[in-house]
Amino acid sequence: QVKQELAVAQAGELINKINDNCFDLCIPKPGSTFDKSDKACVSKCMERYMDAWNVVSKTYIARMKREQEALR
């Protein structure tokens, strides 16, 4: 249950971050409808955000390893 709660918390953070960033990018001026092109943009943006998350993750972890090795 701890695990699940942590997983939920993480997913919540991911949803919030995607939402904030993709809302700004895809719907800079909120109109009266959420049309097909908005939906397509949000869908693509979500994938790009997760791509970006992976690049950041890889870079960060590689750097931390390099720094730790430099300390030895």
């Binding site: 991911l14 949803i15 939402n19 719907i27 800079p28 909120p30 959420f34 979500m46």
Partner: protein, 70 residues
């Protein structure tokens, strides 16, 4: 028991109010660029649209992530 229920209700109210605070913060700078004597019809419409579209976005993301899990 009474107290537990009271606290729970209050916490739900606080959560709802927090959500409304967050939406107002997000939508205010998108819709209000100068201070007028009254809230204009267009400003009001912009705020309502902003909340609706943000939630559309939110629901879509949640559904996609859930679909991806399966």
């Amino acid at each position: 028991q009474e107290i537990a229920k009271f606290i729970e209700t209050e916490q739900q109210k606080a959560k709802l109010q927090q959500a409304i605070h967050n939406f107002t913060s997000i939508c205010w700078p998108k819709c209000i660029t100068k201070v007028n004597d009254k809230l204009g019809k267009d400003e009001e419409q912009c705020l309502a649209n902003c909340v609706e579209r943000y939630l559309d976005c939110n629901f879509q993301i949640i559904k996609s992530l859930e679909a991806a899990k399966k």
